[in-house]
Symmetry: C2
Subunit: 425 residues, 2 copies
Amino acid sequence: MASPPMPRFSASYRIETPLDPERAAAAMAGEQSSGTFLKLAGETDALRERHAARVEAVTPLERRQAPSLPGALPGETYHRAEVTLSWPLESIGASLPNLLATVLGNLTELRELSGIRLTDIALPDDFIEAFPGPQFSVGGTRQLAGVDDGPLIGTIIKPSVGLSPEETAALVRQLVEAGIDFIKDDELIADPPYSPLAERVPAVMRVIEEHAQRTGRKPMYAFNITGDIDEMRQRHDLVRDHGGTCIMVSVNWIGMSSLVALRRHAQLPIHGHRNGWGLFYRHPQIGISYCAYQALLRLAGADHLHVNGLGSKFAEADTSVIDSARACLTPLLEAPGRDDRAMPVFSSAQTVHQAPATYAALRSTDLIYTCGGGIMGHPDGVAAGCRSIRAAWEATASDTTLEEHARQEPDLAVALRAYPSPFSG
Amino acid sequence: MASPPMPRFSASYRIETPLDPERAAAAMAGEQSSGTFLKLAGETDALRERHAARVEAVTPLERRQAPSLPGALPGETYHRAEVTLSWPLESIGASLPNLLATVLGNLTELRELSGIRLTDIALPDDFIEAFPGPQFSVGGTRQLAGVDDGPLIGTIIKPSVGLSPEETAALVRQLVEAGIDFIKDDELIADPPYSPLAERVPAVMRVIEEHAQRTGRKPMYAFNITGDIDEMRQRHDLVRDHGGTCIMVSVNWIGMSSLVALRRHAQLPIHGHRNGWGLFYRHPQIGISYCAYQALLRLAGADHLHVNGLGSKFAEADTSVIDSARACLTPLLEAPGRDDRAMPVFSSAQTVHQAPATYAALRSTDLIYTCGGGIMGHPDGVAAGCRSIRAAWEATASDTTLEEHARQEPDLAVALRAYPSPFSG
């Protein structure tokens, strides 16, 4: 009986339940093991012992008078609690979609729960090592973009829809001449008839390659290749063959299986856009923590992952943005030569104003800082916009206030006046 | 200027907003077109006219004192409204992940909204016709399973985890001898080390083929092949090569791109399991209506789609279950020889009791009715369980009450006593 312990994976939740939390946790474990309301003939004790989900911990929290989510069993009070379940790795093997079917599955539908949020997933090394992880991570991205330190200063092609390949390329010319490090397609444009990648990629890359030959620095352009897997593989090859250095996908809509498949094919960094993510965090009692989910996206192969930005136009709290960015920069597994971090991508109404707080919270510049209007809307033009953002990050790194640094950086001074701070008032 | 109108697609939402609903709708359209806080240089009026999202309708509904979701702009009251937006098809082309990036994208994160639920998507014929849709639908499934009329009576292999391929095959032998039409793997088992498909498929299909040769009827077994796309293609081939007639996938975890790719490869019906779906419906003010989503899953190629069941153990309301099932059975496009319906799959604590109400609401038996304990837990065994469910549906179709029909169907009589009705008390 002294066989080595089987590796297990575990998932933690914040739940709300009309039942005693211990009973709710047992119902969760039951649903995610045998999954029926009867003890069945084939279900021996030995089998149950070996394969059943195990309740590892239940920590009661506060109580509420009313349920957060409809459809739950009636109760007099609703108990919140932290619950951790675990499963033998043998039950799923190394598979991300099947991991999700196990740690989420039907749990979100249980009437025993009036709230359920997946907060964390802990994976054994065996599982982590079965995936290739980010191929380029921070170091590879910096090398390709020619940015040794500081954040990659980036922007998004705007307007998001409607520009022809030639109009896009003309905008890219402006941006690369302005000194940008990183440009991305918007998530709203992938391969539409009015700007097919077969034309947009060569048009854009002609500009970038020309610039690279003249200046020795090749800004990174993330082409949105979102599509079905065969389309994405072809589009990846198209980007690669034209000298492109990054591909972007809407990770939530292509899905985990396609991201894994794309990574196994890819020779370029994968820029993971998480549009739709609001579905998973907008209500605090239902959803998935990005700290848990980003780990799976990295295992699947994302090199860059969006985290919103501080003081953004979106509903996410700044603390959540920082938690997400820190999670992306925390190794899944530490080993010599291994770097499985993803570069967090800050975006949404970012201007010079957010640089100090972002750095103060993160103490790292291993990030991509993208501004749309924050660069393109600078009163003195795109080049000034680009310089102003870079100046803001220089100030931050040298522990100088933006106002102080602006005395010697006129573009920063103009930006500080032109853009209202999201933190004042 | 008399060019033909461009085909457009539209999406409808139920929103909640601290702003005037018209202004909120305009913010939504802006976010899903130009996507920045400034009017930009490249954004001419002509381009805006051609590509911008258009607000088609805003219908104010009730007001609320408090916001349903945190993170929204502050307001004195929160207006609920129905909003419809439309976009030119030219902006995305025929792509499901890019459709989702457009109709959902960042909308769920907007601070202008304290509630957003995608309720409907209307697609032009051009878009629908670009997808292969369900390959087998109702007719093809009936033909493969040898069930000309009435629902396919099905079950799920339980316990969900832990059975070896041989144990699974032994259970399948019991079930097919009991007269079952349809068996499925649980969503918790796909290709784990303790029961690899390479062994489970041959073991199960040996039993089914033997039964088919003896009786002329071949029950359908849905093997859960969820994995990355290359794995799924290989596993599909394995199932097909052993005479299997159905593959199952966890649609939410493999993602839309992989489902499209799998469908283009598949020669077998695709059984779409929607585990995780609770994330999208559990709170009424954030999520996606299954009536909208199931259409996309059908375009991607699902032949069968889970809808929960009446009086189930889950939190979904019975009205929502029926709406979903009706939606699955409503053609996307009517044309001679075309059948793009998906068979709705009823499950979760189903017994003899739910048959009458299910039929009364749906007026159709083009469905799969799966019972776990409702068949396997019958006091007189699995064959009696199977007969009892079939008898319940016979009663329903002939407008007889279960109690009346039970007089001549002893297995039904036993089941009625053994299982408590979910509708009483």
